[in-house]
Symmetry: C2
Subunit: 213 residues, 2 copies
């Protein structure tokens, strides 16, 4: 289905509260570039999706054995990737403001600051133990990537942006997304940081079953 | 910690009802042999573990979006591995009898028929759509691997075997196991078919953080 001109596209669904989105955010650009696949960044919110399943909190908090394992598994992944990690005192953090700002970023045709901003917020959350629900934290992340913090935060509070983020979350539900990170190619869904390679392979081969290398 | 004489050991925790245990069962022997790691097969039951979390059924049935994704993901894995797959009409099947027979197998010091028997039962479940709770099905799997079906089934019904399987499940809980397949090296837990390589690497390097190859 891919023309010779345009690279295949993968949609990258991430949530700022999500642990496993952190390694995915850190590595997707290099992996996708190596596979010659374009990435569309799609911030969304897991809260409403969990809520619809009857969960008032992260399943990692609701199911302690699963949570204990996740933190250990996550720590091993960070060690392997040389990714700074300090277990945050709050989990899961409220990523609403960050997701709205990232929505501003993907609508900003002039710039490509969504990846850098997103990485800065994930570092604040999972490496620096900072409160990402505070506008001060988000403002510092914006400044760090060369964006006018006040202006962007104002834009992020506009009804248009709020509606756009809700729409992205509805779209995620329609695609069958139930966790983060997720990757989609058309309707084909891959869930989890450890499915990134398979998703990229799927994107490259235009929907044929990928072959594990 | 490993002497020069003895290969490192990985414990392989599987449940006969579990979809993702099927590819793990199919590939663990070759992968472990290539990594020069010995495998201890550990049949156990997820039912009591799910029950303790308040689940009366597989989470793939309780959470439809997760379930829909799992079947698609599972199908992709089977295609990649060339593993025959036909979605069973009953999910999750009752694997109690098969787990008791596998417990007989791992206590049988004379033979090494646990892997072959286990593969036969997983094929019956996920490739042939057969009812693995029936003793006729299990008897055929035993015959297929050259075992005296009547004798083994009689032994599987002994209180000693039932107690041994309960003990394995308790041991799984104590190790923090909450799903299948799981792999342990000492107290280090890895969950999921897609963590097999990492677990083998961990086993080989004696507890040092593994390096992704």
């Amino acid at each position: 289905m891919n023309s010779a001109q345009q690279p295949p596209v993968i949609r990258f669904w991430f949530e700022f509260a999500s642990t496993y989105s952190y390694p995915a955010v850190a590595r997707i650009e290099a992996e996708a570039a190596a596979a010659r696949v374009a990435v569309e960044w799609r911030p969304f919110l897991l809260g409403p999706i969990f809520g619809a399943q009857g969960w008032s909190d992260s399943p990692f908090n609701l199911y302690p054995a699963k949570g204990r394992y996740m933190w250990r598994d996550f720590e091993r992944i960070c060690v392997e990737m040389n990714l700074p990690f300090r277990r945050p005192s709050i989990f899961a953090q409220n990523g609403l403001l960050a997701a709205r700002v990232a929505t501003v970023a993907i609508l900003d045709a002039q710039a490509h600051w969504c990846p850098a901003f997103t990485r800065a917020v994930f570092a604040a959350n999972f490496a620096e133990g900072r409160d990402i629900s505070r506008s001060e934290t988000i403002a510092e992340c914006l400044v760090a990537v060369g964006q006018p913090a006040g202006e962007v935060l104002e834009r992020a509070a506009q009804p248009e942006i709020k509606a756009r983020l809700r729409q992205a979350t509805d779209e995620a539900v329609a695609l069958g997304i139930f966790g983060a990170p997720s990757f989609t190619i058309g309707d084909e869904l891959f869930w989890g940081n450890d499915r990134l390679e398979q998703a990229l392979s799927w994107a490259k081969h235009g929907g044929k079953p990928p072959v594990i290398s």
